[in-house]
């Protein structure tokens, strides 16, 4: 069972997306923003884990600003 978040962790409002097979940043941006060309927003928010917007891995957790 997942441990319930407490204190300020419980207020964490970061939105996450777990990459599935066949997904691209463009496709993820379409899902959340309706416009694939806004994929750069996701890329910029994940620069700590992404070095190339064309290289995302299945199972990777990405922040969705």
């Amino acid at each position: 069972m997942a441990e319930e978040k407490k204190g300020q962790d419980a207020w964490d409002s970061t939105q996450w997306h777990e990459v599935k097979k066949g997904e691209t940043l463009w496709k993820i941006a379409e899902t959340y923003y309706g416009d694939g060309s806004l994929y750069t927003k996701i890329f910029e928010a994940n620069r700590d884990v992404l070095s190339d917007p064309n290289r995302i891995k299945v199972g990777q957790k990405l922040r969705i600003p």
Binding site: W11, Q15, T31, Y33, G34, D35, L38, K41
Partner: protein, 201 residues
């Protein structure tokens, strides 16, 4: 015999008056002490447990009424528990203040995170050529005006806190929390655990 009866009646009256007068001073002092206790607890209590203040004031009033009617025994009886109750009232107010302070500290750290996340999403969606599936322009406009509303209300909550009105600040912050959770839902975002609606059952 007649003289004896007359003397007896006078004696009874004198004793009665003396007995009543002997209760006057203690009743007067007890009322003063109770009033002081109520006044000292009242300031904070009115802010945090106003409903409990009335009961105490009613007790004090009935003691004063009895005193005015020279019923010193009744006045003493009405006032005797008030100092202890005033102490309980002060303790209840302090407990409520502590609870509200903790809630405020928690929310004042967390709510700006929600508001910031909503603002970020609204900014991005404002640049989108097309809205995501499940969202239409009316819903998005509603979310945008909701964001303006909660930003203003959060300002108001902080002002209430700075002005020492903790209960009002927490009430406003709760409204911000609920409204922010609704907006996040509209925008297809997940509300943080602290703002998620309570589970039923």
């Amino acid at each position: 015999m007649k003289k004896y009866l007359k003397l007896s009646a006078i004696l009874v009256i004198v004793l009665f008056v003396a007995a009543c007068a002997s209760d006057k001073k203690p009743a007067e002092e007890a009322i003063k002490a109770a009033e002081a206790a109520v006044n000292s607890a009242k300031g904070e209590a009115m802010k945090y447990v106003p409903d409990q203040v009335k009961g105490l004031e009613d007790g004090l009033k009935s003691a004063k009424d009895a005193f005015a009617k020279k019923d010193y025994k009744a006045a003493l009886a009405a006032v005797k528990d008030i100092p202890a109750k005033a102490k309980d009232l002060a303790a209840a107010a302090a407990a409520k203040k502590g609870e509200l302070t903790k809630t405020w500290e928690d929310m004042s750290g967390g709510l700006p995170k929600m508001v910031e996340a909503i603002k970020s999403r609204v900014d991005i969606l404002s640049k989108s050529k097309k809205l995501p599936a499940g969202m239409d322009q009316a819903k998005f406009d509603g979310a945008k005006s909701g964001l303006t509303e909660i930003t203003q209300m959060w300002d108001d909550a902080q002002k209430a806190f700075q002005g020492g009105n903790l209960a009002d600040a927490v009430s406003k912050a709760n409204t911000v929390k609920d409204k922010a959770a609704q907006i996040m839902d509209t925008l297809g975002m997940k509300a943080p655990a602290a703002a998620a609606p309570a589970k039923k059952g």
